[in-house]
Amino acid sequence: MRKPVLRVRNVTKIFGKGCRTCLDDGSVFEGGICPDCGSITGCKNISFDLFPNEILGIVGESGSGKSTLVRMLYFDVEPTKGEMFIEFEGKNGVSAGLPGFTGLTGENNIFKTGSFIKRQLKNFFFGMVYQSAHLGLNLDVTAGGNIVERMLMANGRNIEKMRARASMLLARTEIPVERMDSPPKNFSGGMQQRVQIAKAIANDPAILFLDEVTSGLDVSVQAKVLDLIRKLQNETGVSMLVVSHDLGVIRLLTNRTLVMKNGRVVESGLTDQILEDPQQEYTQVLVNSAL
């Protein structure tokens, strides 16, 4: 049996100073606001494994903690507690040249490593596509420039080579090459998401996070971006964490799904099982209202 590339254990995020009531693993509050200290629960006690080549879905209504979770994994948000382990033997240069870092052996809690290693992981190992393009792109810098910038962060040096690769990535994400030198602020929403995807895969990540990437788009544009994601996954075998409130997106892209509510995972299973035989009341409501 293959081993997970990512193991997430008991990850919790409390926004605010927190107290014994809200830090207790068992407590759940409607709306997430702690009655004792007023802190807001983002995520509570989340654990899961992600396997190589796997596409894992995270579904749940707005405010259930999906974005908070992926942002913690991508080091945008610092967890209140919890652990993350990465086990990976491959190219992609993460462990190479990291002083004091023994490699991705699956033994160290990555949240406890230094900021340098986190930055390296962010640049080499992970990729992120946000719902809003302005979070993932500098909208005033050219599309090509955005991608080259990410390669520079991963120690890219040769400008000509990087530009050639940027152009290849834009072609792969179906952006007309003649738009390479225009800033994404002049692009449609669907094109901006494609540039974000091209940028996110610029350094061949092992894991890609996709947070509601099609949520703001027209249905027909949405379909094309989803096609692109399927195609890229098929070609590269990158593991993906696909966050969406839309069960259609989850059905199309994922093999396995976590269902979140009030910051917790209330149910997890094979995606077809979650859709056809949901066990929890919350999931049954979610599935039925999507029909």
Binding site: G269, Q273, E276, V285
Partner: protein, 228 residues
């Protein structure tokens, strides 16, 4: 190869105040490798639910499903973890569903070749195999590059059959696989399925038509009889 014991499925509908719907009750059977079993029963008796429980689209309520996997050894599919089920599905199982779960904007040829590519076969090769299989099932070549969402019911069903059998699975589930086929395409479909069976595939199928079921099944599991 597969031994099902006291398998039952109840659906607990929390959204209907906890109403319990019975899928099927106390199903037990054993099937040897290379044999085919047909499940017979009136509509609503639980034929589809039995198949889906073994494939784990449904979580069984009671009972065990001991399966002799080539990759994992003996596995109780009723309790196996999700990743084991995903692996076994991918490398050992096929499922001809009653309706095609449309993958939008993917050509017929790609829909059929996809499981083979997923199993590690090189793309050109997989596409060639897919084309051969579609021809065998009587799909005209002009449809190979078209999207199955535009196909007739019978054409969709044959895409579905091709997609499920292309990997030559060890265990094949069939849910009314010929329901929307005319006489001629039913005959070709049965020929394809029987050839697969001759190659060693174990099969469990639900058929609405007993006459057809007898053309492929070695044993029949009769849900109506159990009820009586």
């Amino acid at each position: 190869m597969i031994k099902v014991k006291d398998l039952s499925k109840e659906f607990i509908m929390h959204i209907l105040n906890g109403k319990v719907i019975e899928g099927f009750k106390n199903v037990s059977f054993e099937l040897e490798k290379g044999r085919a079993m047909g499940i017979k029963g009136k509509s609503g008796r639980g034929k589809s639910s039995i198949l889906k429980c073994i494939y784990r689209t449904y979580i069984p309520s009671t009972g065990s499903i001991m399966y002799e996997s080539s990759g994992f050894g003996g596995v109780d599919l009723a309790r196996a973890d999700d990743h084991t089920v995903i692996e076994i599905r991918k490398s050992e199982m096929g499922f001809i569903t009653q309706f095609l779960h449309i993958i939008p904007r993917v050509s017929a040829l790609d829909v059929v070749a996809e499981p083979l590519i997923g199993a590690g076969v090189e793309r050109e090769n997989a596409l060639k195999k897919a084309a051969g299989l579609l021809s065998e099932l009587g799909i005209p070549e002009r449809l190979f590059d078209a999207y199955p969402s535009t196909f007739s019911g019978g054409e969709k069903q044959r895409i579905n059959i091709a997609r499920a059998v292309i990997t030559k699975p060890r265990l094949l589930f069939m849910d009314e696989p010929t329901a929307s086929l005319d006489e001629k395409s039913t005959a070709t479909a049965l020929a394809v399925l029987n050839a697969l069976k001759a190659g060693g595939t174990t099969m469990i199928g639900a058929f609405h038509d007993i006459r057809l079921m007898k053309q492929i099944a070695d044993v029949i599991y009769d849900l109506d009889e159990m009820e009586a």
